[in-house]
């Protein structure tokens, strides 16, 4: 199992998959930044980051996803892309967990407005799966 997960081909496959996930997540958000900004505000993160900065995050995150996605898919600095992917997903997952802990229910805007997914256990499971994929994609080659 360990050898399988460390295999270059498996890692490359995981990277391409992560890249496609990020591209699919980035494009609808870039097309409708206002909707994504609304989702970011919904997470109610004023204890973690100042509310005034949430719009800057909302406009940057989709493009960071896009650039990281391209790096992953094309294989140009894919490990950097994979680490950006993994860290972002860890942050997103933490956001989902804290929203669930406070009983909030809203569309997370994760894949834009069209793929409206409510915050909940299904979303959490999805995120954990994608997070695991990111870890496989970012391990160091020995």
């Amino acid at each position: 199992m360990r050898a399988f997960l460390m295999h270059p081909t498996v890692r490359r496959g995981a990277q391409i998959l992560c890249g496609l996930i990020f591209l699919a997540a980035a494009l609808p958000k870039i097309a409708d930044l206002a909707a994504f900004a609304g989702s970011v505000h919904n997470f109610h993160l004023e204890r973690v980051i100042p509310m005034a900065a949430t719009n800057l995050l909302a406009m940057s995150i989709p493009w960071i996803e896009l650039v990281a996605g391209l790096a992953l898919v094309t294989g140009v600095r894919p490990r950097a892309g994979a680490i950006v992917y993994t860290v972002l997903l860890a942050v997103f997952t933490a956001g989902v967990v804290q929203a669930m802990a406070r009983g909030l229910s809203f569309d997370c805007g994760c894949f834009g407005k069209a793929g409206a997914a409510k915050i909940g256990f299904q979303k959490l499971a999805e995120n954990l799966g994608m997070l695991a994929l990111g870890i496989v994609a970012s391990v160091e080659r020995r």
């Binding site: 081909t9 930044l33 960071i64």
Partner: protein, 219 residues
């Protein structure tokens, strides 16, 4: 390297450079996009500094209006107490002591849980649930009308047709900043409704307080 792509061999400084480059290029592109959008039409872009929408709260409005100068209409609408009063809560009249009258303002007003409960007990408001129909079906404030925020903003005709039966409207949703109910509140005002109240605490506060709830999809 004999091929142009790699499966991720970069380590150390090269890795950090890559990570920094991805974040910096992404953030620059995102802000660049916003600059261009705002140049086209400032309304479509995002504000560089986000300011949460601030609504006056009903609580502060009612205390200031009773303490300060009364509204112009109040003297005329405050007749001598009627011995045959069959409206002890004074819901039909203005300028009463019930504290449940809502100023007729062309903007939504925020309202907190205790006041919401007063309106509920007195049946003095029409409740509007801005959440999705499936959430509405799994529990809502009794008597609330389901008017999903997203659907309603794309269908303004539905808002104009909505009849609050002469009562103030209390909009609520799933809590948090509750942009859904905030937006629906503004949309209702835009559709010509007045006396629109937004209960930002929403469903989590109401159900958390163990107040009565109702289940089912409703009509």
């Amino acid at each position: 390297m004999d091929r142009w792509w790699s499966d991720g061999t970069e380590t150390g400084p090269r890795l950090w450079q890559g990570i920094l480059a991805i974040v910096a290029i992404g953030a620059a592109l995102g802000m660049g996009q916003n600059v261009l959008v705002r140049r086209g039409s400032p309304k479509d872009g995002l504000a560089w500094r986000y300011e949460p929408p601030k609504l006056d709260s009903l609580e502060s409005l009612t205390t200031t209006s009773s303490g300060g100068a009364p509204p112009a209409a109040a003297p005329a609408a405050a007749p001598a107490p009627d011995p045959m009063n069959n409206d002890p809560l004074g819901l039909g009249a203005q300028g009463t002591t019930s504290g449940l009258d809502v100023p007729d303002l062309p903007r939504p007003i925020q309202i907190q849980l205790p006041k919401v409960k007063e309106f509920f007990d007195a049946k003095a408001a029409t409740f509007v649930d801005a959440r999705d129909p499936d959430e509405y079906a799994s529990g809502h404030i009794p008597g609330a009308v389901s008017l999903p925020g997203e659907q309603a903003t794309t269908d303004p005709a539905r808002l104009e047709k909505f009849d609050p039966q002469g009562k103030p409207i209390i909009v609520y949703c799933g809590g948090g900043t509750c942009e859904l109910s905030m937006n629906l509140g503004f949309a209702l005002v835009a559709a010509g409704k007045h006396r629109v109240l937004v209960f930002t605490g929403g469903w989590p506060e109401w159900s958390g307080a163990s107040y009565p709830i109702e289940k089912g999809a409703g009509s």
